[in-house]
């Protein structure tokens, strides 16, 4: 029944390589979150604006990001843009795909967060002579961030897990890419993917726990 015998030694020897892959994974996740947060804020503002064009564009982005597979979004960034003559490498394509997805989800989160900040806050800020962007940045945004902090953390974990889709556009130096290469070379599938899963798990846990600690520090009020 079990013709497969475990060979953990070979797998453990590959740990440094996999750790390097994990760093790339984290890198993509962090960058995709930064881009996703910035775009998500603009999308949230656009979908609440008076301009029909802005609202429409935001709706298309948000709807697509939330209702189509992330895999297709990454695929489109690589091959779709490629067929339009815009060639980007697999790292950039994966980053763009995940950032696009993050922005769509976060836009909805931010929209809810903005509703949670009373309008009187912006009005009080404006009455002190602040410009509208100042009032948003200094008064509204920090309060919104508190409201959306935990959904934001979830999205970050989700972004880490989504990086594993990089293999479909040929990314080979992230955690899944490295693991896949090792697998092809050695056929120790079970061992390598178990270790990879362990890495993903630990990264996700570290994010959740450090976010909790950060939340405690940031939002003491």
């Amino acid at each position: 029944m079990f013709s497969y015998t475990f060979h953990w030694r070979a797998a453990f020897q590959a740990l440094p390589q996999m750790l390097a892959g994990a760093v790339v994974t984290l890198e993509i996740a962090v960058l995709s979150m930064i881009i996703g947060i910035v775009c998500g804020i603009f999308l949230a503002l656009a979908s609440g604006s008076h301009s029909k064009i802005l609202r429409g564009a935001a709706a298309v982005w948000i709807e697509t990001a939330r209702n189509t597979p992330a895999l297709l979004q990454i695929y489109m960034a690589y091959f779709g843009l490629g067929s339009l003559g815009i060639h980007i490498n697999s790292f950039a394509a994966l980053l763009a795909g995940i950032a696009f997805n993050n922005a769509g989800y976060l836009a909805e989160t931010f929209r809810g967060g903005l509703r949670g900040v009373p309008e009187t806050q912006a009005r009080a800020a404006r009455s002190l002579g602040m410009t509208a962007p100042q009032a948003f940045r200094i008064i509204v945004l920090p309060q919104m961030m508190r409201i959306v902090f935990y959904p934001l953390t979830n999205q970050m974990v989700w972004a880490v897990l989504m990086t594993s889709l990089g293999v479909i556009v040929g990314l080979d130096n992230d955690l899944t890419g490295v693991t896949q290469n090792l697998n092809v070379l050695t056929f120790r599938t079970f061992e390598f993917f178990t270790i990879a899963a362990g890495f993903y798990y630990v990264i996700a846990k570290i994010i959740t726990l450090s976010a909790r600690a950060l939340g405690w520090r940031l939002f003491r009020y």
């Binding site: 806050q121 009005r123 009080a124 002190l128 008064i139 508190r146 939002f219 009020y221």
Partner: protein, 240 residues
């Protein structure tokens, strides 16, 4: 000087201000009384351009508030306003709340802004609460903080919108004391209030709002002590 000239203001089809005119001289304290929904808050919002008007004009030191080329952010520096609801910035400490606008709007250095903020907070009796978040303050303390925050901008005018109406009765006195202190320093103020006795005590003039108009205006002795209009009499009877 604030000159309000025949202003009209509607929200959709609801006409809230139906031709209000009022001049407030430098150093003058004008109290505004009147029933709920009569347009008192709306008028204050129009004075610093937080609300647009459909007709008429408002001049502050000769500057037309609603003119297209008026720099409202600059104009608002000289008009302090304290609202009916609490509007402390909850994510900033008391000191930061008060320092913020002088730093970001007036471009003061941290030290200067802090010195002014501490001074203003001391004036309103909050010197012990500098590092505290607003959620730890009582309603009266929050309202006094909001007053200090407006004063830190060194405004020429202060507008108060029922700053005591959401307070427990025992906290009303401390906020009114703060307003008394300001009026004794010669601050030009428009005070929307339900505290009739207070209006009578501090005001140079009292304006009674009714259905979007100033129905009766004059000295406190006249409007509160000896009102002529039946609506004013009825209103005073209902609140006293």
């Amino acid at each position: 000087m604030i000159e309000i000239q025949d202003i009209h203001k509607s929200f959709g089809s609801l006409e809230v201000l139906k031709g209000v005119s009022l001049n407030v001289e430098k150093g003058e304290v004008v109290s505004v009384i009147g029933g709920s929904g009569s347009g008192k808050s709306t008028m204050l919002m129009c004075i610093n351009g937080l609300e647009k008007i459909q007709r008429g004009r408002i001049l502050v030191d000769g500057t037309d508030v609603h003119a297209r080329n008026t720099d409202l952010n600059k104009l608002r520096r000289k008009i302090g306003i304290v609202f009916q609801q609490w509007n402390a910035f909850p994510h900033l400490t008391v000191l930061e709340n008060v320092m913020l606008a002088p730093r970001k709007v007036l471009g003061r250095s941290r030290q200067d802004a802090e010195a002014v903020a501490v001074q203003r907070l001391t004036d309103v009796g909050l010197a012990e609460k500098l590092k505290v978040y607003p959620s730890k303050l009582s309603g009266g303390q929050q309202q006094r903080m909001a007053i200090a925050r407006a004063l830190a901008m060194e405004p020429d005018y202060m507008l108060f919108d029922e700053v005591t109406s959401a307070l427990d009765p025992q906290l009303v006195g401390e906020v009114l004391d703060t307003l008394r202190m300001l009026s004794s320093k010669g601050m030009t103020m428009i005070v929307v209030t339900h505290e009739i006795a207070f209006a009578r005590e501090v005001s140079d003039r009292v304006a009674f709002f009714h259905q979007g108009r100033i129905h009766e205006i004059g000295s406190p002795e006249h409007v509160i002590g000896n009102p002529q209009q039946p609506e004013t009499i009825a209103f005073l009877k209902s609140v006293l």
